[in-house]
Symmetry: C2
Subunit: 215 residues, 2 copies
DNA sequence: TAATAGTAAGTGACTACTCACTCACCTTTG
DNA sequence: CAAAGGTGAGTGAGTAGTCACTTACTATTA
C-alpha cells in the first residue's frame, strides 16, 4: 500500500509560468549562485526533479526569466503621443514611471542588477539595447525642444542621461535597497521633473552657457 | 628528499593586506557565493589552508574588506573649504568626484552593490550612514544658498538627491557596467554641474514653482 | 460500459562533483 | 629548540542534474 501524496496535475504552461515567477523572486533576492534548484522547486510547490523536466539546466531557467520581453513599444507610443503635443511634463513623467514588467519591477530590476554584476549576457539585452532607447528617444526630444527654443542650449544626450540618472537612482534607493526616503514615489518623480525642467526650459532671459568650464 | 617549493615567508600584516585586495577584486567581480576560497588563495599566491589562518571564515574575510573605513572626513573638510568661499562649482565637483577608497573605487562600488543585493549588513554601513552624510551635507549647503537668495526655492534634500543621483548613475554606467559613453568623466561631471546649477542658480526672473503638479 | 493501452505529470533516491573548512605535518627563523 | 609561517591531503555537507519508477488521466476498442 502506497500512501505517498503527490501534487495535483497542472498544465505544462501553468507550471512553467509558476516556476518562472518563483525562480525570479529567488534569483532576485539571492543571485544565481545563491539560489538552489531545491529552493526553487519548493517555492513552486513541486519536486526538484520536475524542475529539470521543464528547463534542462538551472541557467536555462534563469535566462528564460528575463527573456520575457518588456513592453517597451507600448511606452514609446504613449510617450510619442504626449510628445506630439509638446507636453514636456508628460514626456518626462512617462519615462520616469517606466517599469520593465508591470507588477514585478523591483524583482526584475534586482535580477537585472545581479545579472549585470555577475557578468551574464542577460544584462546586455537591457543595458545594450533597451536602455539605450530611453536615452536616444529622450535625447531626441530634448534636441527638438532646444531647436524650437523651448529648452536652453545644452548637450541633449547628457541632459537625458542626467534626468534618467536622477530617476533611476531614486528608484534604486527606494524600490531595491529600500532606503527610507520619507516621501512617496509619485511626489518625488514629480519634483524631479519639476526641478529638471526648471533647469532646461528657457526663460528667454539668461543666456545658455557652454557645457565645459571646470578644468 | 623533499623538493617541494614553497612561497617565501611574509609578514602577517602584508599577507593580510594582499589577501584582502585579492579577495576584494574577486568578490567584486563574482559576488560572495560566486567566489571560492580556492580562487582567493590562488590569486593571493598562497595555499587555501593559509587563508583560514588569517581569517576564521570566508565571511570574516568579506567583512574585513569594507571595514577599512573610507576617508570621508578628508573629503568633508575639503568641501567645507570651498563651501566657505561660496564656490558652488567647487562644492558640486568635489562631491561628484568622491571615491570610497582612492584607487580601488570601482571594485569597492561593485562590492557594495553585491553586498546590498545579497542582503548583507555590509551595505548598511554605507547606505545607512556614509551615504547619508553626502545628502545631509549637500542639502545643508543648498539650503544655505537658497536662504542667501543664490539658488531657487526648492526642496534642498531632493535637489541634493537629484544631483547625487545623476553622478552616481553616470559612474555606475561608466565605471561598473562599462557602458561606452563617448565622453570623459571630467566633461560629464562638468556638464552635470553646469546643467544643475543653471537650474538652481537664481536669475531673479522666473518664479520658482511648487514641487507637486503631476497628479 | 468496461477493460486495455498509451502518455504526460510527478517523484525519491542516486551520482558526480564542488565547497568551506580542518588537520597532521613540514620549514624557516630567532 | 620553540614558535610562527606554511602546506597537501583530506572531510562532511551541500549541489546540479539523472534515472527508474509511479500515478492520473485520456483515447481506443470490444
Amino acid at each position: 500500500m502506497n500512501t505517498t501524496r503527490r501534487a495535483p496535475r497542472a498544465s505544462s504552461h501553468d507550471r512553467q509560468a509558476s516556476l518562472i515567477s518563483a525562480a525570479a523572486a529567488l534569483f532576485a533576492a539571492k543571485g544565481f549562485k545563491g539560489t538552489t534548484t531545491k529552493e526553487i522547486a519548493r517555492a513552486a510547490g513541486i519536486s526538484e526533479a520536475l524542475v529539470f523536466k521543464y528547463f534542462p539546466t538551472k541557467r536555462a531557467l534563469y535566462t528564460a526569466i528575463l527573456a520575457e520581453k518588456a513592453p517597451l513599444s507600448e511606452l514609446l507610443s504613449a510617450v510619442e503621443h504626449v510628445a506630439r503635443k509638446r507636453d514636456d511634463h508628460g514626456v518626462f513623467t512617462l519615462i520616469a514611471g517606466y517599469r520593465i514588467r508591470p507588477g514585478a519591477d523591483p524583482t526584475m530590476l534586482r535580477l537585472l542588477l545581479f545579472s549585470a554584476l555577475e557578468g551574464h549576457e542577460l544584462a546586455d539585452m537591457f543595458f545594450g539595447k533597451q536602455h539605450r532607447v530611453f536615452y536616444d528617444y529622450l535625447a531626441g526630444y530634448i534636441q527638438t525642444r532646444i531647436e524650437e527654443g523651448a529648452f536652453r542650449k545644452t548637450d541633449p544626450l547628457l541632459a537625458a542621461r542626467a534626468f534618467i540618472g536622477m530617476v533611476v537612482h531614486h528608484r534604486l534607493l527606494h524600490e531595491i535597497f529600500e532606503v527610507p526616503l520619507h516621501c512617496s514615489h509619485q511626489d518625488i518623480v514629480a519634483t524631479y521633473v519639476e526641478l529638471f525642467l526648471n533647469g532646461l526650459t528657457c526663460p528667454a532671459t539668461s543666456k545658455p552657457r557652454g557645457p565645459s568650464r571646470v578644468r
